[in-house]
């Protein structure tokens, strides 16, 4: 007699297929750069088509016809009118497919035809892709500052730590800072993901920094007698100053605060970036002979016009130091602060005392986490992090959120702040929130929160910290302010501010709050373009010989990560939270690097750039 029901066991082939799917997921997430988008679109389409059951016409035949048309274009047999036919067919499939397998596959094609029309057209008109082939080293091209990552990994492996620092400084004068707080976009594209998982690039950089000791900066070029003013001494300004000095120009930094560092000092707490580590990078930059005027507010003590008169070029890198407001009732009550204000005070050593207090932090970004974790360290009895979306929608790094939770921060997600309740002294006593539910995806692709049918909730709070975004503090009486669109300065891709001859800008004041490595990239870009503007072609270069790759680097191997001090211990102080990786871990991690600078396209056209 047949069994009425049986428990399903995965067949061996199903298991293998699932494993292959996982491999492809990692491969796709790595998104190999340089591939022809039309060719990729065709192959994604055929994969989707293979998943179709074949019942309905639009999916069974339509997807096949879409693929045939795209293939014809790739084969050089396409016509411009084919694009309209592809669009039309894709729309019909989207309209008529019975299930999402076909509809979503057609939608991908549709988005591609719209999104990379010029690539399709190039195939139709010239028989090949537009532009030339850019198969760059994945990590290097993903790094905004294009740091020579495989180069320094190989140097760390060879225990040439000082050379590793020198090589990093070719593109980034903040090796120490980045060893602690870089968000490492490089790792997302690491080709190692195809085998197992990305190389722990930041961990290797930290080893370089830890073992190298003091590495002096290179000698600057001969004096050019050109003078550049840098307004704002954060990472973008300091980076520009470093390279402009190396190129032989005179540089003066005007800094409004009492110390240099910008958000590295006045935004990032010392438990993430120990002050002596920040100071060591700044010391190296200043060792080149950069003039610094701190507590100097351009616009107040000296006008922009005066600066333009006395300098050959200006670089504005004033960051975003004004906290955005929520516009809710009670926001000006006592005990309510903007995140930037509190972190700035701490940066100058003024520690508020939160002992025994209840703190509510509003926001879901890294700044919110910094505030929450700082509040824990300042003795708060209870710290909540209030956010109107879900945890997975938070823009803060997962590592930061996990760290905060481990240190006792309570995540109040799907709670939209409505008002701050005050007592008779006009001091905050609670944050009133409206519970939300997550709902439809908005135009930007994120699911939007909407009011849940639940009543308002009261979160007790003596202190409310608002971390919902930042804007620039405009320079007083300045024409560049005319170029400010809302909260940012407008520039072209080279960093030029409008047609203001010789005025450049970059960093957070142009991009809005961004990562430190993007600010560094902005400073580097500005230095190159200011040098050209001044009539020079100085090249920043490195002559460090890079060790040969190993012949064995492919065996699958787990990724060693940077460990953190235990939460119960670290939450009581402002000392660095990270532990050192062991020498053995570093050795293994460096050996995982696939050396894309030497293998694949790296040995042909996609290899090392030794100068810029």
């Amino acid at each position: 007699m047949l069994d009425r029901l049986t428990l399903q066991n995965k067949s061996h082939s199903q298991e293998v297929l699932e494993m292959l799917y996982e491999d492809v997921e990692r491969r796709l997430a790595t998104s190999i750069s340089g591939a022809c988008p039309v060719d990729v679109a065709l192959n994604l389409l055929t994969l989707c088509h293979a998943q179709s059951c074949g019942k309905c016409v639009p999916c069974r035949i339509g997807l096949q016809q879409l693929a045939s048309m795209i293939r014809a274009i790739l084969d050089g047999k396409g016509e411009a009118s084919d694009l309209e036919r592809i669009e039309e067919l894709a729309m019909v499939i989207m309209d008529t497919a019975d299930c999402v397998i076909g509809a979503e596959a057609a939608k991908q094609v549709f988005l591609g035809v719209r999104g990379f029309a010029s690539d399709y057209l190039s195939h139709i008109m010239t028989g090949h892709c537009s532009g030339d082939f850019k198969q760059a080293i994945p990590c290097v091209s993903a790094c905004p500052a294009n740091v020579d990552i495989p180069g320094y990994i190989a140097l760390v492996e060879a225990e040439r730590y000082e050379d590793a620092i020198r090589l990093i400084r070719k593109d980034n004068p903040f090796p120490t800072v980045c060893a602690y707080i870089c968000e490492n976009p490089c790792e997302a594209h690491c080709r190692r993901n195809i085998i197992d998982s990305a190389v722990n690039i930041r961990g290797i950089k930290k080893a370089a920094v830890d073992y190298a000791g003091d590495v002096p900066a290179p000698m600057p070029e001969n004096k050019t007698n050109k003078r550049v003013a840098v307004i704002g001494g954060g990472p973008a300004g300091l980076t520009a100053a470093y390279y402009l000095r190396l190129m032989g120009h005179q540089v003066t930094i005007f800094e409004k605060r009492t110390q240099l560092g910008g958000m590295l000092r006045y935004g990032i707490p010392s438990y993430r970036l120990p002050r002596e580590k920040l100071d060591s990078d700044i010391y190296t930059i200043l060792s080149l002979g950069v003039q610094v005027k701190t507590s100097f507010e351009v616009g107040r003590q000296l006008s922009m016009e005066d600066l333009k008169q006395s300098f050959d070029a200006l670089y504005i890198s004033i960051g975003t130091h004004a906290g955005k407001q929520l516009g809710i009732l009670g926001e000006d009550a006592r005990g309510v602060y903007s995140a930037v204000t509190m972190l700035r005070q701490i940066g100058d050593g003024q520690m508020p005392n939160f002992s025994g207090m209840k703190v509510a932090v509003i926001g879901g970004g890294n700044v919110a986490m910094d505030c929450a974790r700082t509040a824990v360290r300042l003795g708060a009895e209870r710290v909540s992090c209030v956010y109107r979306r879900r945890q997975e929608d938070m823009t803060a790094l997962a590592e930061e959120i996990e760290g905060a939770v481990a240190e006792g921060v309570i995540l109040e997600t799907l709670q939209a702040p409505v008002a701050i309740e005050t007592n008779e002294d006009d001091s905050a006593v609670a944050l009133i929130v409206q519970p939300q539910m997550i709902s439809y995806v908005d135009r930007g692709g994120r699911p939007k929160p909407t009011e849940a049918s639940l009543s308002e909730k009261r979160i007790p709070a003596d202190i409310v910290l608002i971390a919902v975004g930042q804007a620039i503090e405009p320079l007083k009486g300045d024409h560049a302010a005319d170029k400010m669109n809302g909260s940012r300065i407008q520039t072209d891709a080279a960093g030029r501010v409008g047609n203001l001859s010789g005025v450049f800008a970059g960093g957070d004041c142009v991009t809005g709050p961004e990562t430190v490595i993007k600010a560094i990239a902005a400073g580097k870009t500005a230095a190159a373009n200011i040098d050209s503007y001044l009539g020079y072609e100085h090249q920043i270069t490195s002559e460090i010989a890079i060790p040969q790759p190993h012949l064995i680097n492919r065996p699958p191997c787990g990724r060693s990560t940077i460990a953190h001090r235990h939460a119960a211990e670290r939450k009581n102080d402002f000392s660095s939270i990270v532990c050192e990786m062991s020498e053995r871990e570093i050795k293994q991690e460096t050996s995982r690097c696939l050396r894309c600078d030497c293998y694949g396209y790296g040995s042909f056209k996609g290899g090392r750039q030794v100068k810029w």
């Binding site: 340089g34 591939a35 022809c36 060719d39 790739l74 050089g76 411009a80 694009l83 719209r114 029309a117 010029s118 057209l121 190039s122 008109m125 010239t126 028989g127 090949h128 892709c129 537009s130 030339d132 082939f133 198969q135 040969q548 012949l551 064995i552 492919r554 040995s603 042909f604 056209k605």
Partner: protein, 594 residues
């Protein structure tokens, strides 16, 4: 030094050597295909893969450095299988109709497949197709391209012109140019990509059909000129040894093939020296009115390069035509007058070591004798060899013969035009005479000779003073020199530039030999011919002097100007960027959709 074991042989070699170079130094042959020493070491074809003890995958010998104690096996079953399958894969996308290919018998892929004993291809054979501009002086056959990237690398690294690009990715990646037609790029037609192509994917446009028709047509008088560098290379393709090869033998064969007049481009080279030497002296006497240094103008690839890449130096270029074009202009005027042959019924054919020459005859100012093209057809040395073979001349039974008169007599100064430094050497010999009224020793200027890419010298001519010269060959070197001159880092009076490394001896139209650069050896042959020549000064070429006396008047005179010089304002048409057009159209369409 590092000690390694390759196939059981203990080898000690420099630590930075690759397995391939260490093996070859020890006479162990590892087959390779895409590899080109110092130029293309990208390990693309995976033919040179070898097995290393302790390693789980094979490695390319061309791109893997030796390491102390390494044990290498170059011919295990695993290696043989990998090598064979990789070659079979290449053949599956290659047009294997070898009988129809002009590299038949001289193809690195064919040789390799033969050596490996491949008789069938176990994959569906589907050569890739692509289009090519039929008017271009050289041809790319995608069907034969194995994407070794040598053309890209030679153009990038040696010539620094960056004409060839890789388009697309994956299975659709392909080598090409960014425009629909070659003339829209800055390609100088130097042909170095062609001479470094391992297969028949790149070759000269075959122009032999017109010559064969003319030879068969009794109405047409066929007049052939042979460039200096051809005489030291033609025999390579005929299977003759160096001792069997002689200029006179070549002339004998050409006559047997039926050419009515066999003349010598060397005659026009001597003529060039008289014009160019006189021009140099004229400019030197009025230094303020001229742009410096004066550049030679015999290499059409260089002339195109200068006019495109450094147009501000246009006036510094000598206005004299190249020997090829001077020859055509004199033939269809002076020789037509003296022989009574209707210039419209002449076919002037050049045999050149060059591909760029195939287009030079169509430039402005190159119809100065009778209105027709001064030179009708240009064949490369390789096409000459094919024509010789096709005409079934029994070369063993052919006697050596001298060139015909009057455009066949020349001096040692003419023949060295084919080697880097030759034009400079010859020009200095005559310039010295024109200034001093007596000859310097013919070897007085020999420091400008040799294969080096950028040579400099300063000579003292007693009645004049010092003259600073430079000789460069290879466009990468030309670019470096132009940058130095532009920035004021280098200053010269006279500069010779040849686009191909080593000059015409290494020209893009010369015979191709696997993994061999022949410019130096051929150049030495040319210098030897000069050493042995009875006359070694262009200004002593009696036939040239007669030409001036009876026809041209004096150097730089009105008639000489009309026939032998270009109008200095002529220029190559500006590059037409169709790639930008595509982008503009794409943007328009994208906009109109919104």
């Amino acid at each position: 030094m590092v000690t390694v074991e390759i196939d059981g042989h203990i080898i000690t070699a420099e630590a930075d050597m690759t397995i391939l170079s260490a093996a070859r130094a020890a006479a162990i042959h590892i087959p390779s295909l895409c590899y080109l020493e110092n130029i293309n070491e990208i390990a693309a074809c995976r033919v040179c893969v070898v097995e290393i003890e302790g390693l789980d995958h094979l490695v390319p010998a061309c791109a893997t450095k030796i390491q102390e104690g390494m044990r290498v096996f170059t011919n295990t079953m695993r290696v043989q299988k990998a090598r064979r399958i990789n070659v079979e894969l290449l053949l599956s996308q290659h047009d294997c109709q070898c009988a129809l290919c002009l590299r038949n018998g001289n193809c690195e892929l064919q040789n390799l497949a033969g050596d490996l004993g491949i008789l069938t291809i176990p994959f569906p054979v589907e050569p890739r197709t692509g289009s090519w501009d039929s008017l271009a002086p050289f041809v790319k056959e995608t069907e034969k391209c194995i994407q070794c990237m040598r053309c890209v690398q030679v153009c990038d690294k040696i010539q620094e012109m960056h004409i060839w690009q890789v388009f697309g990715s994956g299975g659709r990646s392909t080598i090409g140019i960014p425009t629909a037609v070659l003339s829209d790029t800055d390609c100088t037609y130097c042909g170095q990509c062609v001479t470094h192509c391992p297969t028949g994917a790149l070759h000269e446009r075959d122009d032999t059909a017109a010559v064969r028709r003319a030879l068969a047509d009794p109405e047409t008088t066929t007049i052939i000129q042979v460039a200096p560098a051809v005489r030291v290379a033609w025999a390579e393709g005929m299977g003759l040894s160096e001792t069997e090869m002689s200029t006179e033998k070549m002339v004998g064969i050409l006559k047997a093939m039926g050419f009515d007049y066999v003349f010598d481009t060397n005659f026009a080279a001597d003529l060039t020296i008289l014009e160019e030497g006189s021009e140099l002296l004229e400019r030197l006497q009025d230094k303020e009115s001229h742009q410096w240094p004066m550049f030679t103008s015999c290499c059409p690839a260089w002339v195109k390069f200068l006019k495109q890449q450094y147009p501000l130096f246009n006036d510094a270029l000598s206005t004299v035509k190249s020997p090829q074009q001077m020859f055509g202009a004199v033939t269809k005027s002076y020789f037509s007058d003296t022989s009574g042959i209707d210039p419209h019924k002449m076919m002037v054919i050049s045999i050149m070591p060059c591909i760029a020459k195939k287009e030079e005859n169509k430039l402005e100012n190159m119809r100065s004798a009778c209105g027709d093209l001064d030179v009708d057809v240009i064949l490369t040395t390789r096409e000459l060899i094919r024509l010789m073979k096709a005409q079934h001349v029994n070369i063993n039974q052919i006697d050596s013969q001298p060139f015909d008169s009057p455009l066949g007599s020349s001096t040692g100064a003419g023949v060295i035009f084919g080697a880097s430094g030759g034009v400079m050497d010859a020009a200095l010999r005559s310039a010295y005479y024109l200034i001093e009224g007596k000859n310097a020793d013919a070897d007085a200027f020999n420091v400008v000779r040799g294969i080096k890419g950028w040579k400099e010298a300063t000579f003292t001519i007693p009645s004049f003073g010092q003259i600073r010269v430079a000789v460069v060959s290879g466009l990468g070197n030309a670019k470096a020199l132009m940058e130095a001159v532009s920035k004021g880092e280098a200053a010269y009076d006279f500069v010779e530039v040849m686009a191909c490394p080593g000059g015409c001896a290494g020209g893009g139209g010369q015979p191709i030999h696997e993994a061999m650069e022949c410019a130096e050896a051929r150049g030495e042959q040319l210098w030897l011919i000069d050493q042995r020549a009875a006359i070694r000064y262009s200004h002593e070429n009696e036939a040239v002097l007669t030409l001036y006396r009876d026809f041209l008047g004096k150097p730089l005179g009105a008639k000489a100007h009309a026939l032998l010089h270009t109008d200095e304002n002529w220029h190559h048409k500006a590059a037409y960027k169709s790639q930008e057009m595509v982008k503009a159209i794409a943007i328009n369409i994208a906009m109109s959709r919104k």
